[in-house]
Symmetry: C2
Subunit: 421 residues, 2 copies
C-alpha cells in the first residue's frame, strides 16, 4: 500500500516550517531549502537523479528504457501559504516519487523517461507573483519580478543569492517543448465536490480561467434617521442587490460558472449613517473562456442596471484575467481509463483554483488528477486527506504512468538528460 | 428681517473651533468655553440674565410680566461633531435669542418667562454619552459618566474641573417640572423632506425611537474557484439578502419606518475567498414605539428565515434602544397655527435624529420646529440653510412665543428665578 509511506512523508515534510505553531514554507527561506534537500533525498532513494534548478525547483529524473528519452513530467509545488495545510502541493510530489520508487523496486523501465518537479513557488506568498517555478521551466519567467521586494524589503534577486542560486542563470531552468510528452499533476481538490460525489479521485477537465473585477458604487450618505426610504440613494443596499444578483446568475448556470464577492467596504461606516460609497470585488470563473467572458458581460450588465435604477454612479473595472487551461483530451482519456481500471467511478470536474499547469501549458499538454480532501478545506491547518484516498490517488497515477501512450507533440531531445542532472 | 442677524451670528460662532480647517467644538474644550461666553453676551444684549450652569449649559432668562413666573424654555446645543456644519444646534439657540431680542426691543413682556438654554453636550463626541446637558437639566444625569475618559485619557470629572465647573454640583443644574410650561426647540431638519416638500419649516410630530442591532452570520469560508455555487454557505451573500429584505420591508411601510445597514464586515476578506463570517449593524426607527418594536420583530424574523434557509448560523442582538418622544398635541397645534399664520403650508414630519427633547420630556412637554437644510445634508461642512428659511423659522418661533398658551402642567415656582441667575 503506497498510502502509508505517502502519509508518513506528508507528515515529515509538514514539520519543515518557519515556526512550529503553524505551517509556512516560503520561497527561498531556510526551511524551503531544507525541504528541497529532503525531497531530493527521496528522489534519489527512488532511483532518480536529482538536482535543484536555477529557480529552486527540485528536479528528479528516472530514465526510460534507454537514456535521454523525452519525459512524462509529474509534479506539484513545495512552497506553502502561511498557516497552511500539509497536503496542498506536497501530495503531488510525494505521490509521484512513490510511483517511481515502485517502478524502480520492480526494475521497470518505460519507453519514456519520468521527471518529477517540485516547483519552488506556486503560491506567490513572498513576492506577490505566482507560478514562479513553473514559469521558469516553461521559459515564461518575467525577469522584472527579480526586482520585487518581500515584506522585509529584500529583492527576489538578493534572496536567490542568499539561497545559493544565481539569478543570471534563471534562463537555464527553461525546458523545450520537445523534451516533454506531457505534464501531469496530482493535487488535492481544495473543494467539496468529490466528497459530495463520494469518490476518492476525479479527472480534471480544465483549470478554470478567472476574471476579477473591482466595483465602486456611489450614492448619497445620510442620517439613518432623517432620510425617508423613498429619498435614499443607499450604496450598500445597491451593492447588496448586486451580490444577490451575481449569486442568482451563477446558481442558474449549468456549466460550472462560479461568482464570488469576497471583499466589501461600506463608507463612511457608522451605525447611524446611510452608506454613501461601497466598493466590492468580484471573482468570476468558468471552465470555458467564452462562457466566462459572456457571463462577465452579463453580470456587469446586471450591475449597471441596478446602479442606474437606484441612481448610483458605478465604476467597474477588470483587475485581473487568467485564460482557461484545458486538459488535453487524450490525457484525460488515459486518466479516466486508469481511474476505471482501479475500480472507481470516472468523474470529471474543473479545477477552480490555479495550478502550475497554467504555466506548463506553454510547453506541454497538461492533465490533472484530483484527490478528495475533507470538507473541501484547504489553505488551512484543517486540510486533510484520508490515507485510503492518498493510496487511491497513487494507484491511479501509477497505472497512468505504466500505461502512458505519448502523444505526437514530442521528439527525442538530447538536452533533456543533461538538464536533468 | 431677523434672518440677517441670525446668519451673521451662525457664521461668527462657526469660527470658534478646535482648528481652523474644520469645525469641531467639543464639550469642555477651550473653544467650547469661548462659545459659551459669546452666547451669554448675546443673551445679555437681548435683555436676558445669563449664566453658565453646573454642567456647562448656557442659560438665559427673560422675565415675564412679573418676576419668577414659570418659563417657556427654548434651546438647542452648542457643541458639534468633528468636521461639523455651522447650523446643527446653534440655529436653535441663536434664533431663540433673536426672538427675545425682538420682544425686548419692543418692550413686550408676556405672562410667562422665557428661558433659553444652549445645551453643553448633545452630540456626545468626547465621552461617548449623548444629551449630557439636557439630562443634567432634566435631573437624569448619570453620575457614573463622570468617570468616563476621553481619547486622551482624561476623565469627564477632571475635564469639568479644568473648565472651571464643580462636578459635585451637577445636581444643581436640575430643574423641576413646575418651573417649565414647555420645552420648544428649533433645529435644522438634517433630512431632505422639507426640501422635497418645498417648505421652509415643518412641525415635528415626534422624535423617533430607535433600535440598533448587531447581526453576525457564519457560514463556511472557501476557495472562490473550487466550491460550486450549490455547495456554498456564503455569509456575505446571506447578509446581502438580509440587507435587500430590510430595505424592501421598510420601503413597503407607510408609517415612517426607516431601516439602515451602516456597517458591514466580511471575513476573511480576500478577493478569492468566499466569506465565512459577516457582521453588520441595523438601525431601525419609527415615530411610534409599538410600530418600531413590531417592525424589529418582523425584520429579525426575516433575517432568521434567510439564515436558516442558507444554513448560516445567526447571532443577532439589540445593542441600543431609545423610546419615541412624542411632541405634545397642544404644542404641535400652536406650532401649526404659527406656521399657517406666517403663510406657510403646515407640514408635519417626525424627527429621525435624536435631540435634547429626548431628555427634556422627563420634566416638560416638548415641541420642535424643523427648518429646511440644503440637500438634507448635516454633520458635514456642506450643511447649509438659506437666509430666507432662517428668517421664516424665526418668524414662526416668535409668533409661537407671543401667542403661547401654557398648558396645565405647570405651577408658579419661585425657584425658577434663582436657578436662572
Amino acid at each position: 500500500m503506497l498510502g502509508d509511506e505517502i502519509v508518513s512523508r506528508i507528515n515529515q515534510l509538514g514539520t519543515i516550517s518557519e515556526t512550529p505553531e503553524h505551517l509556512a514554507r516560503i520561497f527561498l527561506s531556510p526551511e524551503h531549502r531544507i525541504a528541497a534537500d529532503l525531497i531530493m533525498s527521496w528522489m534519489k532513494d527512488a532511483g532518480m537523479a536529482a538536482h535543484l534548478d536555477a529557480i529552486g525547483n527540485v528536479c528528479g529524473r528516472y530514465e526510460g528504457d534507454r537514456p535521454g528519452l523525452p519525459c512524462l513530467m509529474l509534479g506539484s509545488h513545495y512552497d506553502t501559504v502561511r498557516d497552511a495545510g500539509k497536503w496542498d502541493g506536497p501530495l503531488g510530489i510525494i505521490t509521484a516519487i512513490a510511483c517511481v520508487a515502485d517502478l524502480n523496486r520492480r526494475g521497470v523501465r518505460l519507453p519514456f523517461a519520468i521527471e518529477i518537479v517540485g516547483f519552488a513557488d506556486e503560491e506567490g506568498v513572498r513576492f506577490s507573483s505566482t507560478l514562479l517555478g513553473s514559469r521558469a521551466i516553461a521559459g515564461t519567467f518575467d525577469e522584472s519580478v527579480l526586482n520585487t521586494r518581500d515584506s522585509a524589503g529584500l529583492t527576489m534577486r538578493d534572496a536567490m543569492v542568499a539561497f545559493g542560486l544565481d539569478p543570471a542563470k534563471i534562463g537555464a531552468a527553461a525546458r523545450a517543448r520537445g523534451e516533454l510528452h506531457a505534464y501531469v499533476e496530482l493535487h488535492i481538490e481544495q473543494g467539496p465536490v468529490l466528497e459530495q460525489q463520494n469518490l476518492p479521485v476525479g479527472v480534471v477537465t480544465a483549470i478554470a480561467g478567472a476574471t476579477r473585477l473591482a466595483a465602486n458604487l456611489s450614492g448619497m450618505a445620510g442620517h439613518a434617521g432623517t432620510v425617508p426610504m423613498a429619498l435614499r440613494r443607499d450604496a450598500l443596499a445597491g451593492a447588496a442587490e448586486c451580490i444577490v444578483a451575481v449569486e442568482a446568475f451563477c446558481k442558474a448556470d449549468d456549466a460550472g460558472l462560479v461568482g464570488t464577492v469576497g471583499i466589501i467596504n461600506a463608507m463612511p461606516g457608522a451605525t447611524n449613517v446611510i452608506p454613501g460609497r461601497v466598493s466590492f470585488t468580484l471573482d468570476i470563473r468558468a471552465p470555458a473562456d467564452a462562457h466566462r467572458k459572456l457571463a462577465v458581460a452579463e453580470i456587469v450588465g446586471w450591475i449597471e442596471a441596478i446602479a442606474k435604477r437606484r441612481e448610483l454612479s458605478l465604476q467597474i473595472d477588470v483587475t485581473h484575467e487568467n485564460r482557461t487551461v484545458p486538459c488535453a483530451p487524450s490525457l484525460k482519456a488515459q486518466m479516466a481509463e486508469a481511474v476505471a481500471a482501479e475500480g472507481y467511478g470516472v468523474f470529471e470536474l474543473p479545477s477552480g483554483a490555479g495550478h502550475d499547469g497554467m504555466a506548463m501549458i506553454d510547453i506541454a499538454d497538461v492533465a490533472m488528477l484530483f484527490v478528495r480532501c475533507r470538507g473541501g478545506i484547504s489553505h488551512n491547518p484543517a486540510e486533510h486527506v484520508e490515507i485510503a484516498d492518498a493510496d487511491a490517488g497513487a494507484r491511479v497515477l501509477l497505472r497512468l504512468i505504466e500505461n502512458f501512450r505519448p502523444g505526437s507533440q514530442t521528439r527525442e531531445a538530447g538536452g533533456g538528460q543533461d538538464r536533468a542532472r
